[in-house]
Symmetry: C2
Subunit: 402 residues, 2 copies
């Protein structure tokens, strides 16, 4: 893609009302735009990052046997009333009345999934059911100050599963945990599992997926002999006295909830088991914050010049800085190889092009100029080392990283 | 995919409160579920159809140089007030107050796009701008009785473009019209262009993309010498007197609006032209109803037994009816060839399997039974002819259609 035709370009002004690094860099780079407090558009570069994350997550979800759906965002009050969450989750939900009916905007989908399942469930042979979607969530956040880490409107992947037994639920629960770890590893980020409590979702122990970074809103703890990290909420006085305790800051990018039979009991979601008995289904839900991940990766991977995208989620793999007409030929050659290239073909200074390449953060930078005939300058965004590569060796050089 | 593990299965009950064929067949087939009046979930089969349509549309949009974004669904009143549409489109918009602020749910995005563009536009060099997204729309429909043809919540692809001149706008306008016709042709459906008026969008003449089918809510007209069909709204008394007038029913699946400079003038979206003058941008918007298309295709392509999916948008290409254990081997062989197969591996009667295959409507049906050793039964959903194919010739037979 030619950067000359790209919408929008980088911006020189640092947004005054933003304190979070992710918001500053993503706004300056033109990855996102702010519509109002806590509400952002994903612009072409940002949408590309999100779609790459989405492809990885979708693939890992499908491998667990889950199937993709798309559920509505506007929900009727009566279904939320069945579990009592119309009232208990009032603070977080956008609720409103229209033509004498009450509605809520989705902040999660447990009740909607349960309503869907009970209409389509009779026998144990219909279970397990595993469905997920990528969709918009709305949450009333009093203070939205963390950029796209905590928006009032954002994209989430949420998966739901229903089972005949606790054993089958927990087997799938840990299968999803593995799928999450695999997905995060494929994105090129380091995420750990932490024990946490269930908030408005459940009274059981749940698990969070935490990306370690200084900018994290959460603190997580680890000590010798523990299998998982612990979120502050589940730490006991005993835990705090552990002499081997380590503490790090982290951003929660996913969570998994073993919800048990509480939702099924309240909403009457039952099946006839092989023994002829009617039983409530065992239910679990599993989320990944898609928009949040884009911001979390920026928090965990940047320097004072800009973003450093891991190769698997970078909007483009290669940033081609054109400083001579020869760059056109190199661009075409790279496109023929089906490589993803952002080609800075603008009529602006070399300094501005280098600055923008650092800000935008594509993993591999190529510079084509008249200074080095027959050679192309190669640099990784994550390294200071600049190498001169013979034009004929360019593809083999790139293949070391792609 | 094994149909035994699919969610949900087909249903024998015909939904009583639905009158539209698309809703009846899609609900019975388990493609969609109804949450409340005018609001449906896309279930795994339905989401697969929608995603296939999405891939085709995305590809054609990208070829016009447009870039994908994702804009918020919850909008602040002040931006909608700038064009006056907070009031003029009140009937169709969901508007509500929350914490002493007024919001609307997106029924379209012109104002939001214009706000985005004016923040990122200074010179004619920044134009044209062409951005699109696939996103949810909300519209207050008084009576929602057409299944997924007219929902209160649905998916739409909307594209917006901004230009330096009317000439450049109209050049792109017709480029998008061509891209739409190409996309619909790739989906395997017959869509024509009709002249229409602009409703709450514009006072200019606009164009609709109409799929001809008896179930259509719209009537369109054609006469000798006309280049395009005409929507009823733009027909004159003169037109009605034309002796060569033809009339057909049709469903609107897309529309394009040459919006001119009205939005830019009201919202102060200007650029400095090459002559140094500040000018308002020329603006256009272009929609395709994604959820509606799924329903429209069903209306246009079904028989009394069920749906007949065109191959390009079918959830699976092949419906494999397993009536003997040999079917397992055929299934694996087809998967190895990376073909999309729905394998009915359930322990139910042959009659039920055939009935479900007809209802679900995959384009190619294969039957593996012990009745014809070494042979596989091949049938197209759109034809009555059943052929016996040697197992070794199966792939070459399939390749005639895929």
């Amino acid at each position: 893609m030619r950067y000359s035709t790209f919408f929008p370009k980088t911006s020189k002004t640092i947004p005054k009302d933003e304190v979070a690094i992710n918001a500053k860099l993503l706004l300056q780079g033109g990855f996102i735009d702010k519509l109002m407090a806590g509400s952002y558009s994903l612009l072409p570069l940002g949408r590309r990052v999100e779609r790459k994350i989405e492809d990885i997550v979708r693939h890992e979800m499908d491998l667990t046997g889950a199937q993709e759906v798309l559920m509505p965002l506007l929900h009727p009050k009566n279904i939320w009333n069945e579990t009592g969450r119309w009232d208990t989750a009032k603070e977080v939900m956008y609720q409103f009345e229209k033509n004498e009916k009450e509605y809520a905007l989705s902040f999660t989908h447990e009740e909607i999934v349960m309503d869907l399942i009970r209409k389509n469930l009779s026998s144990y042979k219909d279970l397990p059911i595993k469905i997920y979607h990528f969709s918009t969530k709305f949450r009333q956040e009093l203070r939205a100050k963390s950029g796209i880490l905590r928006g009032r409107e954002f994209l989430m992947k949420d998966l739901y599963s229903a089972h005949t037994s606790e054993e089958d639920l927990m087997k799938y629960y840990w299968e999803v945990a593995d799928a999450y770890l695999k997905a995060f590893a494929r994105m090129g980020i380091k995420v750990v599992i932490a024990e946490a409590d269930g908030g408005v979702f459940t009274k059981s122990m749940t698990h969070e997926f935490q990306l370690q970074t200084e900018a994290g809103e959460d603190t997580i703890y680890m000590a010798d002999g523990w299998r998982y990290w612990k979120n502050k909420e589940v730490m006991t006085d005993e835990d705090f006295k552990n002499p081997t305790l380590q503490t790090v800051k982290a951003i929660e990018v996913g969570n998994i909830f073993p919800l048990g039979t509480m939702y099924a009991e309240k909403m009457n979601v039952t099946f006839t088991d092989s023994d002829g008995m009617k039983k409530p289904v065992w239910f679990g839900s599993y989320g990944i914050g898609m928009t949040r991940l884009v911001g979390a990766i920026v928090e965990a991977s940047h320097d004072d010049k800009g973003i450093i995208w891991p190769i698997a989620v970078a909007p483009y793999t290669i940033h081609l800085v054109g400083l001579s007409e020869k760059a056109e030929g190199v661009y075409k050659k790279l496109l023929e190889e089906k490589l993803e290239v952002l080609f800075d073909d603008r009529d602006v200074s070399a300094g501005q092009k280098f600055g923008d390449a650092d800000l935008l953060g594509m993993p591999l930078r190529l510079v084509v100029s008249d200074r080095n005939p027959g050679k192309i300058e190669f640099k990784r965004r994550s390294s200071e080392k600049v190498e001169l590569v013979d034009e004929k060796d360019l593809l083999s050089k790139l293949s070391e990283y792609i």
